[in-house]
């Protein structure tokens, strides 16, 4: 069987928070803890969660912008050789970089204000020694037309463009090396809703055309519903549930996923969901609750949840990390016990 394009196994990204006098970390910020998922070629994985849940850090750690503390990121751009990105040195990563690119959240910060569109889009080609100057220019022209901009924009600077246009430049730049994998870190959350749809449709058509795979980080569930094939839900650095779009949106298993779906605004006021399910905030990643990280806010929490860390359980081709679904574990149901007593 062909290995998946990207396979993330037990990924941990911890940042030292308090450092002793001799530089030894005393406490850690556990931004990403024990995250596993697979991404097959041509798929889009939507990574959703509240802010601070570690979804962007996961995206950056896949591309090795952060060095993971533990776990592995197996990347297989050609369908044969598998590379473990998490253990590689900077120099070894260099030849693999052309197969994986990134689209950033803020198109105002991700384009160097001192470079023209030509310089910006041709930079990946230039640093990877693709073609000569004239060929690169021709390629940039094709790329920006493909991204929905005009060829005469080549000599303009980023300050001349709107947010949506800048994001198109970023997309053209990400496409320049014809990568297999693009990590998109909330690519549309900085844009107007009307522009969001245009950019999403552009990304989807490019995916069809070039057989791209996206890891799509977002907090907007509607955006994920629009673009993703599979959805992974993160909470406080853990992956609580993942499955196909239909599974996660149609029949959410984890209490957090249910709460998250219920809290997203519905366009139709007559279908308004019951609100106010979740109380409190995402816990401080340097001081996580014991047991299941979600138990202090969980409407279905049991006494065991505060001391047993749930393992990833596989149900009908989807994964969920909750004691409710862990087989072989009998749970004391406080509600049921109450009923029995009365």
């Amino acid at each position: 069987m062909k290995p998946p394009l990207l396979s993330v196994k037990n990924l941990r990204v911890w940042f030292p928070k308090d450092v002793s006098f001799f530089g030894k970390p005393l406490t850690w910020v556990k931004a990403v803890d024990d995250v596993c998922f697979d991404l097959h070629e041509g798929e889009t994985l939507g990574l959703v969660g509240e802010s601070g849940s570690g979804k962007s850090t996961t995206g950056l750690a896949i591309l090795r912008s952060h060095r993971p503390r533990d776990g592995s990121v197996l990347f297989c751009p050609d369908g044969q050789r598998v590379h473990d990105l998490s253990k590689m040195e900077h120099r070894e990563l260099q030849p693999l970089r052309r197969h994986m690119q990134m689209i950033f959240q803020d198109p105002f910060a991700s384009l160097n204000p001192r470079m023209t569109v030509l310089q910006l889009v041709s930079e990946p080609l230039k640093v990877n020694h693709v073609g000569n100057a004239e060929q690169r220019k021709q390629r940039v022209r094709e790329l920006i037309v493909e991204a929905g901009l005009k060829a005469e924009f080549l000599n303009r600077y980023p300050h001349a463009f709107s947010g949506g246009q800048r994001q198109r430049i970023v997309i053209a730049r990400a496409l320049a090396l014809q990568p297999k994998l693009i990590v998109c870190d909330e690519p549309v959350s900085a844009l107007d809703v009307s522009v969001q749809a245009q950019i999403l449709n552009l990304m989807m058509s490019l995916k069809e055309k070039y057989g791209l795979s996206y890891v799509f980080v977002a907090h907007d569930l509607e955006v994920v519903r629009h673009i993703a094939d599979r959805v992974a839900v993160m909470y406080a650095g853990r992956l609580v549930e993942d499955g196909t779009k239909a599974q996660v949106f149609g029949n959410p298993l984890h209490p957090y996923t249910r709460a998250l779906l219920a809290s997203s605004p519905k366009p139709n006021p007559s279908h308004r969901a019951k609100r106010g399910i979740l109380h409190g905030e995402v816990p401080d990643p340097s001081n996580l609750p014991s047991g299941c990280v979600f138990h202090p806010r969980c409407p279905e929490a049991r006494p065991e949840c505060s001391h047993i860390v749930p393992a990833q359980t596989r149900i009908d081709g989807r994964n969920v990390r909750c004691l409710l679904y862990e087989s072989g574990r009998t749970l004391t149901d406080p509600a049921g016990a109450d009923k029995a007593a009365s």
Partner: protein
Amino acid sequence: MNAAKTTAVAPVSADEAKLAYYEASQWSLMRRRFCKHKVAVWAIYILVALYVVCMNCDFFSAYDPNEFHERWVDMPPQILHFGKVEGYRWPRFYVHPSIRVRHPVTLDECYYADTSRRVPLEFFVQGRPWRFLGLIDTQLHFFGVPDGESCFLLGTGRLGQDMFSRLLYGGRISLLVGFTAVFLSFFLGISLGGISGFFGGKVDIVIQRVAEVLMTIPHIPIWLTMAAAIPKGWTSLQTYFVMTLILACMGWTGLCRTVRGKLLSLREEDYARAAVLAGASQKRVIFVHLIPNFLSHIIATLTLAIPGMILSETSLSYLGLGLRPPIVSWGVLLKEAHNGQAVLNQPWLLVPALAVILTVLAFNFAGEGLRDAADPYST
């Protein structure tokens, strides 16, 4: 943004103006933003004028700054007039000759302007020899008066030296000290700050702690010690270089922190990260993405650092720790004026203070304008 569009240079049509704006680089945008800051533009003009005049003080001054005129001691300024002068067809600049008399009551020496005579100023006259750029011998001076007449536009000092010439010669030293000291500390600050910000870790900790320790030591005692260490026998030129070195040694800490902070923040910018993820080498990230983006900030910081250096030199020399006569600097000149009698009887000796204030203000306004213009996201 609209305002910037309308200020485009000589637009043929609105579209072309827009296009010129879209294709304007950050440097030209910075220039446009700077030009909108009228005070800063004027400050730059003033600074250029000050530097041009003071760097060419041999040409612009009528007298040798250390020449004693025993006939004209402690003389008040001769006011510059403009009008008709006997024997000349066109109106021109002239001064009234000063005449020394004894006050009939106090018997003090005093001067009065002889308004019956007008001494015309002549321009581009031959005078004492000097060397242009240290290479070409010349005797040409910007202005002068016929032999036997006097022209002390800012009066004379206790020994009869021309204050105007001394102001220009003092300016040459004081303004240059600011520049050279800032460039030395810039060199120290940018290299240490760069190392500190880019490599981080232990190197960073050591450099930052050293900078902090230097910052906590009060400057005056340090200057005192260092200035006291300069041997008495040294020439004024040697003293001058040691002075700039002392100033630079104390002044690099602030710059070091600025550079470090800027590097740290720029290194985390998305576009620097994007370049790394595109496969760019570390060298390329530093030279293509980081340095051009912080250069403008550094220039602004430098401009704001120069007045501090000028003030330091002035206060050091004023305290008698820095430069000493016969070298003339604004601080040395102010030291000569630092008694109550001078303030009362010879207020023209305080003109160097005005020059210091003007320079410092001009540098501050120019620096502020540059700083505002350097921010690529302010429109």
